[in-house]
């Protein structure tokens, strides 16, 4: 299954969850200061393991960066 993860196309196993995608970029549930959106909808940390990704979906995993 292909998902667009932080701007890059990645291959994840079928049934992969938001938590799996987050893990690819080094983020685990419980990490502080991060957030995940799937197809533009924010997924609360508690739900990362339950949200199953769909083929072609967009996943964004973000953190605070220096900014104005």
């Amino acid at each position: 299954m292909r998902v667009r993860l932080n701007g890059d196309w990645q291959t994840l196993p079928e049934g992969a969850t938001a938590a799996d995608a987050a893990a690819v970029v080094g983020v685990r549930p419980g990490d502080r200061g991060v957030a995940v959106a799937v197809d533009g909808a924010v997924v609360p940390a508690a739900g990362w393991g339950e949200v199953v990704l769909a083929e072609g979906c967009t996943v964004e995993v973000v953190r605070a960066a220096a900014g104005g």
Partner: protein, 256 residues
């Protein structure tokens, strides 16, 4: 200085700081201390581009985080970015930026208002970065924004307050806190903002790219207090001619 209240929260400092543009993290910490800032903006970026530790550094310096929506060009982007920020930073506050032009980074009035209405409905405390347009400022207040943040001049330009008259009209038009955002270059700009009636000033590039960021942070901190104190002190009127501060009465005859 007297405290201010935004969205029900009391702040002792009237200088907000941006976290962007510092040469290294320690410089940010030093600037927060020197500015005595309680609120520091951060952006929301993909983890690969956000090295981590920023929140901790800001909190260690005694400040809290104000996420921004920098880089968003539509209400939709800004709203989602705000929701990501709320999830990541556990705060309802957001500095709402919806940009309309890449070269000037000026706000887009229409998208801004749409995003503000949506975020207020979603329970956010919205501080809206806006043009110096008093009518738009009033509309943002009417939409429920907790603060209105007019620009002095384009972001990072250092051009100061290009239109003091407009800022004074905004002060008349807006009842919620008015925070001068964007364009501050140096201390006198910050003092002027406060004299025009702003409740606070946000500085980013002015500090982070100064030759000596903590020194400029301290200068702006002083200037904000100076300007606010001056406004409260009731300045003298402007006169076309001179008015002697020394009376002529009793001047000795010494021209002999």
């Amino acid at each position: 200085m007297d405290q201010m209240t935004i969205g029900g929260r009391t702040l002792g400092s009237r200088l907000l700081l941006g976290s962007g543009g510092f040469a290294h993290p320690a410089a940010l910490s030093g600037a927060i201390h020197a500015a005595q800032a309680e609120v520091v903006t951060v952006a929301v970026r993909r983890v690969e581009h956000a090295p981590g530790g920023l929140l901790e550094a800001i909190e260690a310096a005694g400040a809290s985080v104000l996420p921004n929506t920098a880089g968003c060009f539509t209400a939709r982007e800004a709203v989602t970015t705000a929701h990501l920020a709320r999830e990541a930073f556990a705060t309802d506050w957001v500095k709402l930026e919806v940009i309309g032009d890449a070269r000037t980074l000026l706000p887009d009035a229409v998208e801004l208002l749409v995003a503000a209405e949506r975020l207020v409905a979603d329970g956010f405390t919205v501080l809206a970065y806006t043009t110096d347009d008093p009518v738009l400022g009033r509309r943002l207040e009417d939409a429920g924004c907790a603060a209105v943040m007019p620009l002095g001049s384009p972001i990072g330009s250092g051009l100061g307050i290009r239109n003091p008259h407009a800022i004074s009209l905004m002060r008349e038009a807006v009842s919620v806190p008015l925070i001068l955002d964007a364009g501050i270059g140096t201390a006198s700009d910050a003092a002027l903002a406060m004299e025009l009636g702003c409740d606070a000033v946000l500085a980013a590039t002015a500090v982070s790219r100064a030759a000596d960021p903590p020194a400029m942070a301290r200068a702006l901190h002083l200037a904000v207090e100076a300007g606010r104190t001056a406004r409260g002190a009731g300045r003298i009127p402007r006169l076309h001619h001179a008015q002697a501060s020394t009376g002529d009465e009793g001047r000795p005859e010494v021209s002999a």
